[in-house]
Symmetry: C2
Subunit: 249 residues, 2 copies
């Protein structure tokens, strides 16, 4: 990795990382959209993935805190608005809670995150720390998994609606919004990375940042698979199927 | 958790957490010491666990950086000396590398940590961040898994020596040292916690810190089990059995 890539060659290599390592290739995703999970396994997914959703605005605020350019911050803050909403009852996190509501969890139980798998929390925290500690270019590049989001979202939504009678368009409303938000965010971040990653070292770091982020997503599905598909057991302290799902309500 | 516990009652509750959540109960540990793993699965364990070993002095330096009492730092620095040694070729990290040497890995490959599972890196980083971000009392309490180390080490060493012809007393030298170091460290940390956790809130936080640390250890074995016992697959980019084990030597 000693030659400087053209911006388009860099994009090509970024897309190749997604093609090889994005979590649409994970067995858990395949089970989820094929209708091969039971309601408790879908519950476990929604409960754990909440931790990821809830940390996205914290991740973006951490990132924005390192931007010294008001123009860049003005663009980036839209991500926080999308997740937190304009008012109570609005935004991506709220829409995720509509999903966990629909699966029978109480909101305080979900929001406490105490029942999530440790590996979920560690992966999500690793993402927040990454954007706080790495150079801004790499922190921005780590968001580029959004380039691959529309494909997995379409597959997930159509598959889940077709196969699960406990899932409805209303409970999957989160993903409908993301179909327009993710490409807008990805286009901006990709253009930024292509413009600013000019040395071979910067380009290698940008590619590594995307690999890291793919790892963050992959590790979450590994943990779900191990705990809730098999062979387990579920890590001590995490939600157990059959356990009162609104325990701390 | 609103009543203040006596120091001895606090110790009892700490020991109960270990009895329920320490990773000696994990199926991967049972397979390891019973001789039911193949050499590649033992390699995966040693390769991944290196990341944990390598971060221990960084964890302890992070913790010491927050101690304003020279007496406390004088005690705590022994942990760094134990892991880093008095000179090149000495210390706990070196002894762990003797194990990975014996399993056929090149040192640069192990030391790069690039072939570790993402979940391993995330769990280890979570531990370092925990001791940097939480109150000092909780940071110290997170080390208390050492209270339970002698049992698991004895089981591991005797089982591995009995069952694996690719393991010798020399390659397990790391654990011999830990049998005396861990209780000394644990005794100090336990006395510190019993003396300083005086409010119900502090005591609850101390108990949570130990639960967190048990999660850090447990999540590493979950990830090893999923990737290398089954069903997998191994996360993209991590070491694959059969792969040239000294690839980047």
């Amino acid at each position: 990795m000693n030659t400087v890539l053209s911006p388009d060659e860099l994009e090509k290599q970024l897309r190749a990382i997604g093609a090889a390592r994005y979590h649409n290739h994970h067995p858990f995703h395949k089970l989820l959209h094929s209708g091969d999970l039971n309601i408790d396994q879908v519950r476990a997914w929604a409960l754990n993935r909440y931790c990821y959703q809830a940390m996205i605005p914290i991740k973006d605020a951490t990132l924005m805190a390192r931007m010294h350019d008001a123009e860049l911050r003005r663009v980036w803050r839209q991500r926080i608005i999308d997740h937190d909403g304009e008012r109570e009852g609005d935004g991506g996190i709220e829409r995720w809670l509509v999903l966990t509501d629909g699966l029978g969890f109480s909101r305080p139980y979900v929001q406490s995150m105490q029942a999530a798998l440790p590996a979920t929390r560690f992966a999500v925290e690793a993402y927040v720390h990454f954007v706080g500690e790495k150079p801004l270019l790499e922190a921005i590049a780590s968001s580029l998994t959004e380039m691959f989001a529309p494909g997995i979202i379409s597959e997930r939504v159509s598959g889940m609606l077709a196969h699960y009678d406990f899932i409805s368009e209303k409970t999957l409303a989160y993903f409908g919004k993301r179909l327009t938000q993710a490409p807008r965010d990805a286009d901006f971040a990709l253009a930024y990375v292509k413009e600013h990653a000019r040395t071979a070292r910067e380009q290698a770091a940008v590619l590594d940042a995307l690999r890291f982020k793919c790892d963050v997503l992959w590790a979450q599905l590994d943990a779900l698979y191990h705990a809730y598909v098999g062979p387990g057991p579920v890590a001590p302290g995490a939600w157990q199927p059959g356990q009162e799902i609104a325990a701390t309500a």
